[in-house]
C-alpha cells in the first residue's frame, strides 16, 4: 500500500527563513496533497499536485513532485511565526472509482521562531 512519509519529523527555523519538507511514497499515485494542521485543530488543505505535474506554486508555497523518485517537497518561503504547524503529505491512488481516499504521512512539525 502507498504511504506518505515526511522528513524531517521536526524542523525549527527563524522567521524569514525558508522551510523545506519532503515526502516519499511507495506506489503509483493520482495526486499528492499537502495539508497543514495547527495543534489540536483540523486539516487545512494547502495545495494539490497531480501526477502529471512537476511543480506548483501557491503564494509562498512551492510544491514539487518527482514521480520517478516517488517523492515530493513542500517549500515555504519567507516563513512567519504563524506558519508554525504540522504539515502532512497525503497521496491518493491511481485506481479511481468510489474508493478514492488519502493515505497520510506522519507529518513534519514546523516551528518558526520569531
Amino acid at each position: 500500500s502507498q504511504q506518505g512519509e515526511e522528513d524531517p519529523q521536526a524542523l525549527s527555523i527563524q522567521e524569514g527563513e525558508n522551510a523545506t519538507m519532503n515526502c516519499s511514497y511507495k506506489t503509483s499515485i493520482n495526486n499528492l496533497q499537502w495539508y497543514r494542521q495547527n495543534s489540536g485543530r483540523g486539516l487545512v488543505h494547502l495545495i494539490l499536485i497531480r501526477s502529471n505535474e512537476r511543480e506548483k506554486h501557491s503564494g509562498r508555497l512551492r510544491v514539487t513532485l518527482d514521480t520517478s523518485k516517488k517523492s515530493s517537497s513542500l517549500l515555504i518561503t519567507a516563513s512567519r511565526a504563524a506558519d508554525t504547524a504540522s504539515y502532512f503529505c497525503a497521496t491518493s491512488g491511481s485506481s479511481g472509482g468510489s474508493n478514492y481516499k488519502l493515505t497520510f504521512g506522519k507529518g513534519t512539525l514546523l516551528t518558526v521562531n520569531p
Binding site: N31, H45, N99, Y100
Partner: protein, 114 residues
Amino acid sequence: EPEVTQTPSHQVTQMGQEVILRCVPISNHLYFYWYRQILGQKVEFLVSFYNNEISEKSEIFDDQFSVERPDGSNFTLKIRSTKLEDSAMYFCASISTFPGNTIYFGEGSWLTVV
C-alpha cells in the same frame, strides 16, 4: 469558502457507551469520509461513503462502527460500545468529484474515552 462542519468539537464518554459524531459535508459534495487521528499519530482512513452506501472501509472500521446519512445533509459516525483505544480526533471529509479534486476536512471531533 464552503466548509465541512462537525459536532461535537469535544466529547468525553465512558467506556462501553455509544457515541455519535455528526458531520455536515459541503452541500454539493457526493463522497464522504471519516478519518481518525490518535494523538501524535498519522491520520488514518476509516470509511468512505457514496450513493448511500459504504464504498470502502479500513480494518479499523469493525462492527463497532457504523455510518449513516439519515437526512441528505448530515453524515454520522456511530461507535456502538466505545473502548479506550477509540480516543482520537475524528475527521469528516467530503469531495465533489475525483480524481484530482480537493478533499475538504472538518475541524474534527475530539473523542476521549475514560
